[in-house]
């Protein structure tokens, strides 16, 4: 089987989510990559070095600059004439583009796969991860999105894929990019961080989040996260949200501080290697999944932890 993997990038570097998608695709067969954008030579070169990669298709065109699915999906659908599976990481970009490609191919997409069980068979979470479905496609081609935390990352070096330009491409003229507000930060990105420190509603304010959560994260070089309740209460921006409707993470260590552990939140972090919970309510559901639990007032315990670690 020949797969075509969507390379997620920021214009200069390949994002980690791509590497998990490469691993998933390699279980199906030959791995080809697609780098789309404008002025993406550097990304294409980096992508060609991903271990195990065959061809790297490079669609370099102003119409592809901002991942507008109206312009990109038809190009991918054309490339799919010579591929059997389109595989995208389940990022907001992948989720935006892949179904548009699937419908153009008259294929029913399989979203957010957790494992490859056979040539056309996969597992995927349903009901916010409260159930796992094993599904089998009967379509001639596959369109898949891949949950990044469910697959090992392919090595980003060691490969030597052949770079090939994709011709054509045009602006469909029905959508345009206006602007983006992407938080710039020295911290590791939430979805690829080794350690995450997350705060919940118990913090009570954005000032307390700054005062209690941030110093611990600084000390550990960790990414910052939050529960939906903390985001909805306005303590932190929405891109901090960990959970079924936010980001799905699986770091080495996840600190859940003042987070009760709603199903919604657990769905986003329960695959973390070690979960540390600090909460004053000893019956909080978070303790049912925590490897290390501390029943304590977070306003005392967290600064003490920050001081001693």
């Amino acid at each position: 089987m020949k797969t075509l993997v969507w390379v997620e990038h920021d214009g200069s570097a390949v994002k980690d989510a791509t590497l998990a998608a490469v691993t998933a695709a390699s279980k199906l067969g030959e791995v080809h990559l697609l780098v789309a954008g404008e002025g993406v030579d550097g990304v294409a070169k980096a992508a060609s070095e991903i271990a195990g990669v065959g061809k790297v298709h490079v669609a370099d065109n102003a119409a592809f600059a901002h991942n507008l699915p109206e312009n990109i999906a038809p190009m991918i659908a054309e490339l799919m004439a010579s591929h059997d599976a389109f595989v995208a990481p389940a990022t907001t970009t992948g989720k935006n583009i892949a179904p548009r490609v699937a419908a153009l191919l008259d294929v029913m997409q399989i979203s957010d796969i957790l494992s490859v069980e056979g040539e056309k068979s996969f597992t995927r979470p349903i009901y916010a991860g409260n159930a796992i479905a094993t599904v089998e496609s009967s379509d001639a081609k596959l369109v898949l999105t891949v949950r990044g935390t469910a697959f090992e990352k392919a090595a980003s070096s060691g490969g030597s894929g052949a770079i090939e330009a994709v011709g054509g491409g045009s602006d469909a003229g029905i959508s345009s990019f206006v602007g983006a507000e992407i938080a710039k930060s020295e911290r590791p990105e939430l979805t690829s961080a080794k350690i995450i420190v997350s705060g919940g509603r118990a913090l009570g304010s954005s000032e307390k989040y700054e005062e209690v959560i941030v110093p611990l994260a600084d000390k550990l070089g960790a990414a910052l996260g939050a529960s939906r309740a903390a985001v909805d209460a306005g303590y932190v921006p929405n891109d901090y949200q960990v959970g079924q409707t936010g980001k799905i993470v699986a770091p080495e260590v996840y600190f859940a501080i003042g987070i009760s552990g709603a199903i919604q939140h657990l769905a986003g972090m329960k695959d973390s290697k070690t979960i540390v919970a600090i909460n004053k309510d000893e019956d909080a559901p978070i303790f049912q999944v925590a490897d290390l639990g501390l029943v304590a007032d977070l306003f005392n315990a967290v600064p003490e932890l920050t001081g001693k670690i």
Binding site: A73, Q109, L294, A296
Partner: protein, 249 residues
């Protein structure tokens, strides 16, 4: 401008799903069913656009069993003007749904179709994007702000790392994210009024759409259970355990 809002009847988000012991799915017998929360946000957004004078009519549509009428009545009670039930007892996949909505869009000629970004049962996150592909319209997915400006709509999208704004030519497809708005509760008088609003019943065959599944569900199982670990007595013990794992500054 007319707005089409597809809505789905799903297991209420407060009910913990239980996997059936025979592994065929999640038990939906005698449990509370409600409108998919993301769709509710879509209905609210459409009604607000009507209240602002941008939209003239809001049409709610659902594909599902006879009981999906209740979901449509909820949309009508919130403020939708009329409803279409495409009745079927089969589970309809996003691709077939998109084909049905495309046929309805051709008949109704809406300026906007506002859908939930995903249904909280199957978590597919596909129908809006697929409808956009089939109609050839632009798509603004995961919207946290929607502003109609003449022949265009400006959509602010929640993306990994922050927000992004795109401008789309109308007609267009919008899918809702959680922070787009807070849906209203229907008032009792409006619930009463909704009972007499028009609700048409159709079938997938009326739109010439074959709903046979492309993806077979082989089995549904419980997720692996994570075992609770230990409780530490104090911060010192926590620090010691973390350091033993190699976690320190």
């Amino acid at each position: 401008m007319k707005i089409l809002v597809p809505v789905k009847r799903v297991l209420d988000y407060n009910v913990k799903p239980r996997v059936k012991s025979d592994g065929t799915g999640v038990d939906l017998a005698n449990v509370k069913m409600s409108m998919n929360p993301f769709d509710e946000i879509g209905v609210e957004e459409a009604i607000r656009l009507k209240e602002k004078g941008v939209a003239t009519e809001v049409v709610a549509v659902s594909v599902g069993p006879a009981k999906a009428q209740e979901t449509l009545r909820t949309a009508l009670a919130m403020g939708a003007d009329r409803a279409i039930l495409v009745q079927t007892d089969d589970a309809v996949e996003p691709l077939a749904l998109a084909k049905i909505f495309k046929a309805i869009a051709e008949a109704e000629q809406p300026g906007l179709v506002i859908l939930g970004k995903q249904a909280i049962d199957d978590d597919n996150n596909q129908t809006g994007q697929m409808l956009a592909a089939l109609t050839g319209w632009a798509q603004g997915t995961f919207a946290s702000k929607v502003e109609v400006e003449g022949e265009q709509v400006s959509v602010t999208r929640e993306v990994d790392g922050g927000l992004e704004t795109v401008k789309l030519k109308l007609p267009a497809i919008v899918t809702t994210d959680l922070r787009l708005n807070e849906p209203r509760y229907a008032s009792l008088p409006n619930i009463m009024k909704a009972k007499s609003k028009p609700l048409d019943t159709k079938s997938p065959a009326d739109y010439g759409v074959d709903t046979s599944p492309r993806v077979k569900v082989v089995k549904v199982s419980e997720p692996p259970v994570r075992q609770a670990g230990i409780k530490v007595a104090d911060v010192d013990e926590l620090v010691a355990k973390l350091k033993a794992m190699g976690v320190h500054s």
